[in-house]
Structure formats: structure tokens, C-alpha cells
């Protein structure tokens, strides 16, 4: 396929269903009322010249190229800003219009450098196209003043800004405002002096509020804002639609290629998760795929003291299989285990768990969801009957109240955050949705341009359950519960039991205030707002049901009561009737690109794909028959239990695909002790990650650009991942797992991931209707995809809960065992930042380090003052588990008594400090609460120095010796 930009209809579509028929250039077309003439014309294949219009932003009417004539109207209205009317007769081409357009274009070109042949956008420039379209042949002006020769702003690592080529169409500004919602760009000066500016005139792009999402670059019709990669490589020649491999939003991109070289990732307008938007990671931070540190050859060593030895694939598979067999024979089959990756495809994940269950002969399989959203699985399965968010992302456009708890969407899920912010700014002429944020930190969404949370409840870390129970207390005792919904949809007795519990005086906001540190009145107001009685809707003619939606993240799950918090959230939603329609629901914001998929695929030790417990004989038999093996009916080990068992000397071999547990899992010392106690650690990854220090076998992985498969995002959307280039290591990850299985004697013969998906569909009722063919047709499908819902399920629990009746579960507040005291008086909580992704394995190998070179410790001015600290000082961060050093930044975003850091950099390793306390139901680590002390420091701790030496030693590759 040759390169074609995505079709641009000029102005956004409308949701109107009422239709109007009009005539454009003699042809009759019927379009929804509210459609612009420009869009209507585009739909019938008539392209009216335009420059300032693009269908990602509202019409603006500034370029004046799209003028048309309309019978019965004076003058020449702009087709982008004029909506169609029934019976309208429009002409888009007349001599008068041609002359006007030529006149406008003559003005543009009189102020544009005529360097098309050497311009990076040559062939991909709307100004160039439109100059041709209007037939401009010469510029008659004897030009004196121009905007040429201005200095370029090349400060952003990914794109350049060349004001000399700017036509002042404001598309970049409008994209920043309307699509991204950062409002970083502005028009400086007026008239002739109008100039796009990132913040103040003295700012450059890098120094401004710009978050480098790329929306402006995407919107620019000329070479003014252009990817550095296009400048370097040239314009693309073909494109492939695929899915981003960063976070759980799951943006659809067009990978635009030149040969096997990726030129740029462009957000795909038809992507249902992102609707044409992107963030700095997905849009730009893919350079790691070609990073020099990528390992492309398999490597083995008999002991971790030795340097690595590169081998061929065949030797690697044979050696790995023999080691696994040896250990299984020597220590028993329960000494083996595997970890699936939420970074890999559904098909790859499915194969790894199949390898463990069918090949290793046990259920010792777990996944990185253990350390992020396992409580979501437990909590939503218990209350609603299935482990997934209830909505699609589009749903947020219909919310009236949005409650965010323990999530920082503008950093963690930026593209969805932008969609949420559109609603919070009240675009589309509706009153803005109201916002409640429950978070120890004042995250960016609490107050950002044109958005201010009605209520921010800055709770003490670890008291989520107490806060939610107090909210439930208010809802029940003030008579705000939706009893009709509860009677119809939930178990009334369970509700009554729960309602009695939350109504107890000890659960009142006032009584819990000393625990949560949340102002009781504020909490009451927030509860009323969520329940639909606090937000005044005066003026609306008829009072309708308020749509309140809850969005949550790891600030909910990564606690000793993570599962309880998820259930408390579900209780609130059921009690207020906010389940089962658009605009409402309980929505976990998943961390990794395929956490949802990894969980769906049966990666947990206790369940098979589709959330069926391993003890369920019917489900087990289905697999046994298909796979021709017998399965262990007892649950296997979770990751922390595997490490415990390893320390105990009974767990000896681990296959880890695409996860860096040493860096990401809590209490690093315990993780390293467990790994060190194993005899065969197999790391399957792109890079020699931290876990690989303890590995005996390294199997090089492939990137998402190098393989076929599917990812499932946070809205249960199964989306195709398409191979755009040959794997540098020679094999897609599923092929590596298959070859390993074959080397172990398993009879696997998949020739394409589509066959794996066919098997998944065969064995998993909720995936019954999924196939690659269907995904190619539909673009994506939200499970359940069944005979009843062949096109998938955007909203769950519409007529009834998956489990039948919704279940209210009493969630009593149980304080964490991790307590502050004189030695460790502060509470540490951890999180992410926009420019980096989790342990940073990918983003640290891109230009994104320009935004965040190191992890910083946020500390409140009062706590800093007490310790004589100021921003930029090196500080020692110590807990009962360990200590590390990093630099401090003093800020009142955190409350007094709370400190915060990110865990993106291996040199900091925040998890040296975190403890192995975990969620009571799932063992999801309590990352969000660690009692710590902070003190001034001169430099790295002994641990950091030792680790540095270990890393260097462990990463040696002995390339001098030829493979035997």
C-alpha cells in the first residue's frame, strides 16, 4: 500500500440523528443536521480547498479558502463554519470563488519560503496541495515585509518548530486546547505580528507547559511543526495500523514506514480508544526498539558469576529444555514456574501459561498484574461477577460526575485523561462534568486549565477503605441510595447488611476524620455529589438521573486492603445505581498495555482463561481435552510465594517473559535472595534488565513492531498488533515460547498467532466470537464477544450483573501493619510520571530522559524545613526494608507527613525501600504505603554502590569465545 494520509473531513462529525438533504454542485446529499457544508461536501467526494480546518478540532473559519456560494444568501460564507440546512443549494466552484481563493493563496505564498524541493514536508504539505488546487500561478506583490528567516525552535527532542513556515492557522493551538487540553500554545501578538508561541514569548517548546503529545505536530498543515525523524529520514511511503505497547489505554497508531524503517507513529483517527490522539510515549518514544543495548542473540551461562556466552537459538532451546527437565526430575515439577508479561500479546501470554500448565505440569504461573491490578480481579469478580471495567472510554463523554481515586490519569493514562478533560471542560456546549479527586497528592487534574475539582480529598495513604466507607455512610444515612436499582439488580439482604454496617456511627466521616485526615464536611459534600444530590442542576427543565463514574488506578489496588477498596468502590456504584449504562460505571485504569489481556488469558495461578477457577472441573476438562494433558486442580504459586519458596529451597526454575521483577517488585533484597536461590532463571526480554543479573539463560525478545498478535486494553478492547518490520532477533516472542515447548517435547505447531487466538476463542466463552478476521473487519472488539453479542460489549451489566445479582460486600477498615513511628515518621507513596513508563526499560532508552533524568523525592516544605532540606539536595530515603538516595524536590503537592517518588530509574530503585506487606486477598504489594525517614546525604548508599558493581559484573558478555 502506498502512503496516503488519513482522510480529513475538515470538521468534526455530529451525533445528531435528524437528517437534512441539500444540493452541493448539483448533487443531492443527506447528512445529519449540524454537519458543516465542508464535511457534507467531503462525504460526497467534493474537496473544498481548506487550510485552517481539520476534523480533529472545531471549525475556526480563518483561512478563507473554503468559501462557497449559497442560493439566497449574501456574500461567500465559509463552508467550514456554515452548517447545512434542508434544501440548501451550494456551489463550491464558480469563477468568483476561484478568484477569491487564488487571491487568498497569493497572500499566503507571498509570505512563504519557496523551498518546497528541499522542505521536509515536500509531498506531505497541505499548503502545497492547496496552492495547486486553487491554481495559483504567480505572486504579483512586490513584497517588502515577510515572516521569513526566523529562528527555529528545535528544543523539543522529537519535533521542530519553524515559524518562518507558519501560516498562522491556529490548528496547533486548537489541537493543544481541544484535543490535548494542556493549553500550552497561544497566539502571541496580533494582526501581522501574530505568532504561535509556547507559553510566553521567552519560552521555547521545551521550557513551556507542552507535554509533547504531538497533537500540534499532527494538526500542522505545513512543515512548521514537524517530526525530527521526518526531517532526518524523509516522508513515509506506506503505513500499517497497529496498537501502542505502552499503557492500558491502548491507542491505535499508524506506523508510517520507509522500507523497514519506522518514520513516525501517527495516532489513528478511527482508533476507538484514542480517537486520533496520542501522548509523548506512544507518539515519539519508540527509539528503544533500535537501541544499541538491545540483545539480539540468545545467551547462556551456568552460573551468574560468569560472563554471558552468546549461542544460536537451537542451542539455547536445547539447553533451556534440558535444564528445566533436569530440575523437574531432581526437585519435582512444583519447583518450576513462569511469569507471563502484560507487555506481550494475548497470544504470547496464553502460550506461556499453557507452557507452565501443560508443560511444567503445575499452576505456578503468575503475571505482573499480581503487582498492579490483581485486587481488581478479585474485587470486581466478587461483586459484579467479572474482572473488568464496566465501560468503554467513550462513556466518559456522558458522565455528569467523575470520581477519580488513586489514579493520576494525566501522567499514567494521558490520552484517556485528555478525553476526560474534554468532558470536565464542558465542550460540546453541555455543562462541564463535576470532579471529585481522592488522592494524597494534589495531582495535575485537581486543578488544570479550565478544570478545578469540586472536591479534593487528600487522604492519609492507606485509608482508602475508611474514606469510601464514610462516603457510603453519608449516602445511606442521608437517604441518597438508589433503592429501586438495588431492589431490582442486587441482593437486597446483602445490601441491608452492608447498609447497616456503613450506617454505624463509627463509620461516619466525623468519626473517621482522625484516621483519614479528610475534612468531614468536604467528604459529605463529595458523597452527595457522587450520589447525584450535591450537584445543583438548576435550570434543567426535568431532573434526570445523574451519571456518576468512578475511575481508579494503582492507588486503590496497591494497598494491604486493595481488594477491599475495589469492593468498596463497587458497593458505592451499586448503591447509587451507577452501573449498566453509558456515563457511569467502575473503571480500573490499567497500567500496562495488556494487563487486562494477561489476566483474561489465565495468567493467574488459580484460574484458567476467562476467569474460571482451576478447581472448576468442567472448565479444566475443556482444556485437558483440547491440550491432551491432565491439569493440576490446585492453585499454583503467586510471584511473592515463588520467591519465598525459592528461599526455602524448593522452587528452582523460573521463566520470566517481559517483566523485570527485580526492579518492579517490592523489597528488592527479598526478590534478589529468591532469584539467587534458583538454579535456572530464564529471562526473555529486549534488554539485559535488572532481573537478568540473576539469570542463567537470556532469550532475546521482539518489540511490538516486530510481531503479530493482540493486546486488550483497559476497556476490554481486543486490538490487533501488526508486524511492521522483521524481528531484529529473528523470532517473534510467541515463536520463542513455542520452540521452547517443542524442545521440551510438547506437540505445538502454531504457524501464526491467529491460530493461537482461535484456540483461545475455542476455550474461552467470553472470547467465543473473536478471530483475527473479525478484528481486521471491526478494527477492535470489546469482550464478551459471544453469540448474544457478536460485535462485542461496550457497556457491561446492562440488564443484569454477570454474576446474577450484584453483591454488596462489607469492607471494614483494617489499618495496615506498616506503621509510622519515631524511626520512620513519614509515609512514602510511589507513582509514575508522564514521560516515563514503569521501570523505564523502554523510555530510559529514548529522548524522554530529557524530561525526567532521575527519580525525585517530593517532600512538603514543613518536612523539608524540619530536616534542613531544599530542592536539589541529595537525601537518604530509608525504611525498615532498605535505603537508597535520590534528590529532593520541595512541593506542597504532597501533604505534610507524606513523601512521593517515581520508580523509573534503576539507579534509584525505589523498591529497595518498599516492604513486602501486601493485599490480604491477592498479595498485590503495598507499594503505596511505606514508613520512611528522610535525611541529608552525600551520595549513593552502600547498597547502591554494591548494586552498581553487581550490574557491571552481571552484564559482561564474553563475545571473544566462539560458541561451542
Amino acid at each position: 500500500m502506498t502512503y496516503q494520509p488519513q482522510a480529513d473531513f475538515g470538521t468534526p462529525g455530529t451525533k445528531n440523528t435528524e437528517m437534512a438533504s441539500l444540493t452541493i454542485d448539483g448533487r443531492t446529499i443527506c447528512v445529519p443536521v449540524g454537519t458543516s457544508i465542508m464535511r457534507a461536501a467531503a462525504q460526497q467526494g467534493t474537496s473544498i480547498p481548506k487550510l485552517c480546518a481539520t476534523d480533529s478540532v472545531k471549525s475556526f473559519g480563518s483561512c478563507r479558502l473554503c468559501l462557497v456560494e449559497i442560493d439566497g444568501r449574501k456574500g461567500t460564507p465559509a463552508s467550514c463554519t456554515t452548517p447545512v440546512e434542508p434544501g440548501m443549494v451550494v456551489r463550491t466552484q464558480t469563477p468568483h470563488l476561484a478568484k477569491l481563493r487564488k487571491g487568498v493563496m497569493e497572500l499566503y505564498i507571498s509570505d512563504h519560503p519557496l523551498d518546497c524541493l528541499t522542505c521536509a514536508a515536500n509531498g506531505d504539505c497541505e499548503l502545497q496541495d492547496q496552492a495547486g488546487a486553487v491554481g495559483l500561478r504567480d505572486v504579483r506583490y512586490d513584497v517588502q515585509a515577510t515572516h521569513l528567516g526566523q529562528e527555529k525552535d528545535q528544543s523539543n527532542p522529537y519535533f521542530d518548530f519553524d515559524p518562518s513556515k507558519c501560516i498562522a492557522c491556529s490548528r496547533c493551538i486548537r489541537a493543544c486546547d481541544e484535543v490535548q487540553g494542556t493549553l500550552a500554545l497561544t497566539m502571541e501578538g496580533r494582526g501581522w505580528d501574530s505568532k504561535i508561541s509556547a507559553g510566553f514569548a521567552s519560552d521555547n517548546f521545551m521550557g513551556s507547559e507542552c507535554v509533547s503529545c504531538g497533537a500540534c505536530v499532527q494538526a500542522c498543515p505545513t512543515a512548521t511543526l514537524i517530526e525530527k525523524k521526518v526531517v532526518e529520514v524523509g516522508t513515509p511511503e506506506r503505513s500499517v495500523v497497529t496498537t501502542c505497547a505502552y499503557c492500558g489505554v491502548g491507542c491505535t497508531f499508524r506506523a508510517e514506514m520507509r522500507g523497514e524503517q519506522l518514520v513516525r507513529m501517527v495516532p489513528y483517527k478511527d482508533g476507538k480508544a484514542n480517537r486520533g490522539h496520542s501522548c509523548v510515549k506512544g507518539r515519539f518514544a519508540w527509539g528503544y526498539a533500535q537501541h544499541q543495548e538491545r540483545i539480539l542473540k540468545p545467551m547462556i551461562r551456568s552460573s551468574i558469576d560468569q560472563p554471558w556466552r552468546e549461542v544460536e537459538w537451537d542451542e539455547a532451546f536445547a539447553y533451556t529444555a534440558s535444564e528445566l527437565k533436569r530440575i523437574s526430575e531432581k526437585y519435582g515439577r512444583h519447583a518450576l514456574g513462569g511469569i507471563t508479561s502484560s507487555r506481550c500479546t494475548n497470544e504470547e501470554t496464553f502460550l506461556v501459561q499453557k507452557l507452565v500448565r501443560a508443560g511444567f505440569g503445575n499452576n505456578n504461573v503468575d503475571t505482573c498484574a499480581r503487582v498492579c491490578h490483581s485486587p481488581t480481579g478479585y474485587g470486581l469478580k466478587t461483586t459484579f461477577g467479572t474482572s473488568a471495567g464496566t465501560q468503554d472510554f467513550d462513556s466518559v463523554a456522558d458522565s455528569d460526575v467523575i470520581l477519580i481515586i488513586g489514579a493520576n490519569p494525566t501522567d499514567g493514562h494521558p490520552v484517556f485523561a485528555s478525553r476526560m478533560k474534554r468532558r470536565l471542560r464542558g465542550q460540546d456546549g453541555r455543562p462541564p462534568a463535576k470532579l471529585i479527586v481522592i488522592d494524597p497528592r494534589r495531582t495535575d487534574i485537581v486543578r488544570s486549565p479550565h478544570i478545578e475539582a469540586q472536591h479534593h480529598l487528600p487522604l492519609r495513604p492507606g485509608t482508602n477503605v475508611a474514606v469510601l466507607t464514610a462516603m457510603a455512610h453519608v449516602i445511606v444515612t442521608e437517604g441518597l441510595a438508589d433503592e429501586a436499582f438495588i431492589r431490582e439488580r442486587c441482593d437486597w439482604d446483602e445490601y441491608s447488611h452492608w447498609a447497616d454496617f456503613v450506617s454505624q456511627a463509627r463509620n461516619s466521616p466525623e468519626n473517621l476524620q482522625p484516621v483519614t485526615l479528610v475534612d468531614a464536611e468536604e467528604l459529605r459534600a463529595a458523597a452527595r455529589l457522587y450520589a447525584g444530590s450535591g450537584g445543583s442542576r438548576s435550570g434543567s427543565p426535568q431532573r434526570r438521573k445523574i451519571n456518576a463514574a468512578i475511575y481508579y488506578g494503582l492507588g486503590v489496588t496497591e494497598h494491604s486492603q486493595g481488594s477491599s477498596t475495589v469492593m468498596a468502590i463497587a458497593n458505592l456504584a451499586m448503591a447509587t445505581g451507577n452501573i449498566g449504562r453509558r456515563g457511569v460505571g467502575v473503571n480500573p485504569l490499567r497500567g500496562q498495555n495488556n494487563v487486562q489481556g494477561a489476566c483474561d488469558m489465565g495468567s493467574f495461578p488459580h484460574e484458567l482463561s476467562g476467569y474460571r477457577h482451576i478447581s472448576d472441573g468442567d472448565a479444566r476438562r475443556l482444556f485437558e481435552d483440547d491440550w491432551g494433558v491432565s491439569l493440576d486442580p490446585e492453585p499454583g504459586l503467586r510471584i511473592p510465594n515463588m520467591l519465598d519458596a525459592a528461599v526455602d529451597g524448593v522452587f528452582k526454575a523460573l521463566y520470566v517473559q517481559g517483566e523485570d521483577i527485580l526492579h518492579s517488585d517490592p523489597n528488592t533484597a527479598h526478590v534478589s535472595a529468591g532469584l539467587a536461590a534458583m538454579e535456572c532463571v530464564i529471562v526473555h526480554d529486549l534488554f539485559l534488565n535488572e532481573t537478568a543479573h540473576y539469570a542463567h539463560i537470556f532469550l532475546p525478545g521482539s518489540t511490538f513492531l516486530e510481531k503479530n498478535g493482540t493486546f486488550t486494553n483497559a476497556e476490554r478492547r481486543i486490538q490487533p498488533v501488526r508486524k511492521v518490520m522483521t524481528p531484529l532477533n529473528g523470532l517473534e516472542d510467541w515463536e520463542v515460547t513455542q520452540a521452547l515447548a517443542q524442545a521440551m517435547g510438547l506437540d505445538w505447531s502454531y504457524s501464526h498467532p491467529s491460530e493461537i487466538m482461535d484456540e483461545i476463542a475455542r476455550l474461552t466463552p467470553t472470547f467465543a466470537g473473536v478471530s483475527f478476521e473479525r478484528l481486521d473487519e471491526e478494527g477492535s472488539l470489546q469482550w464478551p464477544v459471544t453469540a448474544d453479542a457478536p460485535d462485542g460489549t461496550p457497556t457491561m451489566h446492562v440488564d443484569g450483573f454477570v454474576r446474577g445479582k450484584g453483591k454488596f460486600v462489607v469492607t471494614d477498615y483494617v489499618p495496615t501493619d506498616e506503621k509510622t513511628g519515631p524511626r520512620f515518621p513519614l509515609l512514602l507513596t510511589t507513582g509514575r510520571i508522564l514521560s516515563h513508563y514503569n521501570v523505564g526499560a523502554q523510555t530510559r532508552r529514548t529522548e524522554n530522559v530529557a524530561w525526567h533524568k532521575e527519580d525525585l523525592l517530593e517532600i512538603h516544605p514543613i518536612d523539608a524545613e524540619d530536616r534542613g532540606l531544599k530542592s536539589g539536595d541529595w537525601v537518604k530515603l530509608a525504611s525498615r526494608a532498605g535505603e537508597t538516595t535520590l534528590r529532593a524536590t520541595v512541593t506542597d503537592r504532597v501533604a505534610p507527613g507524606v513523601v512521593y517518588t517515581t520508580f523509573h530509574h534503576a539507579v534509584t530503585q525505589a523498591n529497595v525501600v518498599t516492604t513486602d506487606y501486601s493485599d490480604w486477598a491477592t498479595n498485590c504489594p503495598e507499594y503505596k504505603v511505606t514508613a520512611v525517614q528522610i535525611s541529608a546525604s552525600n551520595g549513593p548508599t552502600a547498597w547502591q554502590e554494591e548494586y552498581e558493581a553487581l550490574s557491571e559484573r552481571a552484564r559482561r558478555i564474553d563475545t571473544g569465545v566462539p560458541a561451542e
Binding site: 478563507r64 506583490y141 494582526g191
Partner: protein, 485 residues
């Protein structure tokens, strides 16, 4: 002895304060009233109806003694006697922020009538009056009100455009400084009629006296117009903010940039809510219309231009000032008879009507009646009815250049024809003035004018061609002469 002296900005600029103080020192009872609008006579001293002007402090004792030359009874002065003063009926007579004076001179009758007859009948009265927007576009006010009244919204607004920036215009300022309650009453009637609870008056910062008087009057009359409330907002010096959509952006705290229409402000105006945006003179005409009936107003004027227009005479003219008259009077009568010709005494070369974007009209067209349609047919516009007079020393090529330069200076920069075209226009006229490729460049200006006229987003770029093309059409010799030399 009661002495009435205006505290209007023009009177003050001409020395009214010093004159007033001199009278006070001499023991007179000085009352500061609004201005009669005869600017060449300011400071005009009014003692029991007899006028003395332009007065100086040194004349005070003579005036008191009755020995100074007077202009006679002010009401009988031909400049006043020729007028039909409806909007300016109180001009020169009342104290601007005296509620007593306002009550005593038919004040609040219009609002009372509106409240009595109800919303629909109020709008019907305005429609019957034929009142058209006095800001320039001449859109029927009643239809605009009807549109806003017909919308369903939790909030609607009345916005008074008092960003009076056209050359030769001062009528808005005179209303706000001289009769602020009338404007407030007009806004309150509008608010009542369309269901708006809140009004804004957007006043240019160059009018400090008007701002002070409006604020004082709003505060003094708040109880009378309640529940309707009015707030004064001060502009920041951009001509473009007199354009209604830029004005709305500015009111919202945004960059003063023109919005594309549709949506009409009547449907999506201030903060996205249905909004009546009317000029000061439009709203100020409303109390009289309500008090006396729409038909009485419509009985004046000609064709579709009903009622009276406060014409403002300025520039090189002998009798400058405010002249309110029914539509239909000819331009020639206004300039030569009422205005008395040029102040310099030289021949009139042309006049510009409607501000810097208005056409230059030569004396050969002085038969034009003051009427929206007649002016439009002559490629001219009435605008805010300011008339600037030029004598025969004017260089029309420079005036054409100035029009482009003005557009370049005041462009908001949104649309291409205005943003780039105005500067290219200046450059090209410079070429003509320098005698380079005159014919080709004049053709280019004609093409550019067409692009700007039909292509621009608002009237700034769209009307700039009027002065340019009228200068080129009516005075080609000023452009060609350079070629010869």
C-alpha cells in the same frame, strides 16, 4: 443665579472646569449638566436658557453682569432647532447622575411600560419601531431580541457595545456621560424582554469619564432595575474589540479575536449563552420607543431606516457636534448647512462617513439621503454615523494607504485576507505613490480589495476596501499624478 455648565469630557477638555470654578467663586450656583452637543461652543454657559460660548474664566464677570455677547436662547439656536431630539432629549438639560432629574424628564417610563405590557408586547413595540442596530450593521433590533427571547437557556445576557472607536464618533460617550440612566433603562428593558438577568457594558478604556458615570449611575439605580444587574467592563485598547464577537471574547477574558458566525451571538454568545449585543445608541433609543410607542418612532425616517439618527459631525468642519435627526436628510445639508462647511474655509473635497472603514464621498454625491439602503447602493456605509470632513488639501492616495495601514494595525490576525492583505495593501499603495507600475498595481489593489471584501471574516478586513476603492474611484488623479511626476 443658577449657572449650568456641562461636565462632559469635551466641555472639560475645552476648559469647562475652570469656567465653572470661576462662576462658583463669583457666588453663582453652578450646576454641572450634560452637553448640548455644540462642540464648537464649549464650554457653553447656560443661564436660564440663554447661552454663552465658548466661555472663558475671564468672561465670567461680564456674563454675570449681562454684558457678554450671548448666542441667545440655546433651544432656538439653528443647530439645535433643526434637530429631532429623542435620544438626546435631555442633552444639556439634566444632571447626568441625578435620579430626580431623570424622573422629572420621562425617566423610567419606558421600563414601567415594558413591565406593564409584558415581554412579547415589548419586543413587538421594538419591532414596530423599525429600530435598527446603530453600531453599523443596521440589523433590526427587534428581530435580534426575538431570537434571544426564543431560546431556552438557564442564562442569557445583554451586552452593550460601548467600545466606540470609529473616527468622528462620540455619541455613545455623550449618552454614557450625559444620560447614563437612559442606557441603563434601555438595557433593563432588553433584559426584561428577552429573559436575561445580567448585562455588561463594555466601555473602551479611553473613556474614563464615561466609565465613572456609568458605574455611579448603575449603583444609584440598582434597586430600580432589579433583578436585572449590570456590570461595567473596560476594554484594553483594541479597535477590533468593537466587533461584537471579538468583544465577547474580550469579555470572557480571551484574546480579542473575531469568531466565525454562525453560531450567532443571539444563540451562542457570551460564555456560550444566548446574548443580545447592541450598541449604546440602539439601547438608548429603547426607553423612548416604549414610552411613546413603536409607531411614533417609526413615523420618523424614510424607507426601512426608521426613527432618528444621532449624526456626529467632526473633522474639518465649522460646526462640529451631535446632530440628531430623522433619517432622510441629505449628506449635503448635513455638511454644508448644518455643519457650515469646513473650518479652514477651503472647499470641501470629500467626507468619510462611518468611521475609518467608511467610503470617501465626493461633493458630487452629496445628494445622498441619510438612509441605510441608499448608502449601501452607493458602496458607502452609515456605520455609527460619524462624518469626517476633509478640505481640498487632502491627499487621497495617502488616505487610501491609511485605510490599509489602519487595518494592518488593528487586525486581530485571525483571517488571512486581513492579516496579510492589509500589509500587502500598504506596500502596493506605496508602490503606486512612488510611481511604480501604477496601472498594474492599481489592478492588484482592486483584486486585493475584492479578496478582502468577500474573504474577510469580519467588517474590519471586509470594509477596508471601501475607503481604498472609493479613494481610487472618485479621486484617480491623486494616484495617477505621481506617475506623471
Amino acid at each position: 443665579m443658577i449657572v449650568r455648565i456641562s461636565d462632559d469630557a469635551v466641555a472639560i477638555a475645552c476648559g469647562a472646569d475652570a469656567v465653572a470654578e470661576a462662576f462658583a467663586c463669583a457666588g453663582a450656583d453652578v450646576i454641572r449638566v450634560s452637553s448640548w452637543g455644540m462642540h464648537w461652543l464649549e464650554p457653553l454657559v447656560d443661564i436660564e436658557g440663554v447661552g454663552y460660548g465658548a466661555a472663558t474664566p475671564s468672561q465670567v464677570s461680564e456674563i454675570i453682569a449681562g454684558t457678554a455677547p450671548s448666542i441667545g436662547r440655546i433651544e432656538d439656536h439653528p443647530f439645535i432647532a433643526r434637530q429631532t431630539r429623542l435620544t438626546f432629549a435631555r442633552a444639556g438639560k439634566t444632571r447626568p447622575i441625578s435620579l430626580d432629574d431623570y424622573y422629572a424628564s420621562e425617566g423610567w417610563l419606558g421600563l414601567a411600560k415594558a413591565r406593564q405590557i409584558g415581554q412579547d408586547a415589548t419586543i413587538a413595540a421594538v419591532r414596530a419601531s423599525g429600530l435598527r442596530g446603530r453600531g453599523g450593521a443596521g440589523f433590526p433590533a427587534g428581530i435580534k431580541w426575538q431570537t434571544v427571547a426564543g431560546t431556552m437557556s438557564d442564562q442569557k445576557y445583554i451586552v452593550c457595545n460601548a467600545d466606540e472607536g470609529d473616527s468622528a464618533t462620540f455619541a455613545d460617550r455623550m449618552v454614557m456621560e450625559g444620560d447614563p440612566f437612559m442606557l441603563i433603562e434601555g438595557m433593563a428593558i432588553a433584559g426584561f424582554a428577552v429573559g436575561a438577568s445580567k448585562g455588561f457594558v463594555y466601555i473602551r478604556s479611553e473613556y474614563p469619564h464615561a466609565i465613572a458615570k456609568m458605574e455611579a449611575a448603575i449603583s444609584a439605580s440598582a434597586h430600580l432595575i432589579a433583578p436585572f444587574t449590570i456590570e461595567v467592563r473596560v476594554g484594553a485598547g483594541a479597535y477590533i474589540c468593537g466587533e461584537e464577537t471579538s468583544l465577547l471574547n474580550s469579555l470572557e477574558g480571551k484574546r480579542g479575536e473575531v469568531r466565525a458566525k454562525p453560531p450567532l451571538p443571539a444563540l451562542e454568545g457570551l460564555f456560550g449563552k444566548p446574548t443580545v449585543v447592541n450598541n449604546v445608541l440602539t439601547l438608548a433609543a429603547v426607553p423612548w420607543i416604549l414610552a411613546h410607542g413603536g409607531e411614533a418612532y417609526a413615523a420618523l425616517g424614510m424607507g426601512r431606516s426608521k426613527g432618528t439618527m444621532p449624526v456626529q459631525l467632526a473633522g474639518n468642519i465649522k460646526h462640529s457636534g451631535l446632530f440628531e435627526v430623522a433619517f432622510g436628510i441629505t449628506l449635503g445639508e448635513l455638511v454644508n448647512v448644518v455643519g457650515g462647511g469646513t473650518q479652514s474655509g477651503r472647499a470641501v473635497r470629500c467626507v468619510q462617513v462611518g468611521g475609518p472603514l467608511g467610503a470617501y464621498i465626493p461633493p458630487s454625491r452629496f445628494d445622498l439621503p441619510f438612509d441605510y439602503e441608499a448608502f449601501a447602493a452607493a458602496d458607502a456605509l452609515i456605520g455609527h454615523a460619524g462624518i469626517t470632513v476633509f478640505d481640498d488639501t487632502v491627499d487621497m492616495a495617502q488616505m487610501a494607504r491609511f485605510a490599509m495601514e489602519f487595518c494592518a494595525a488593528e487586525s486581530c490576525g485571525k483571517c488571512t485576507p486581513c492579516r496579510l492583505g492589509s500589509t500587502r495593501g500598504v506596500e502596493t499603495i506605496d508602490q503606486i505613490i512612488a510611481g511604480k507600475n501604477v496601472e498594474a498595481n492599481m489592478a492588484l489593489i482592486a483584486d486585493l480589495s475584492e479578496t478582502m471584501k468577500y474573504g474577510s471574516l469580519c467588517a474590519l478586513g471586509g470594509f477596508t476596501p471601501y475607503p481604498v476603492m472609493s479613494a481610487m474611484t472618485h479621486f484617480p488623479e491623486d494616484f495617477m499624478v505621481r506617475n506623471a511626476s
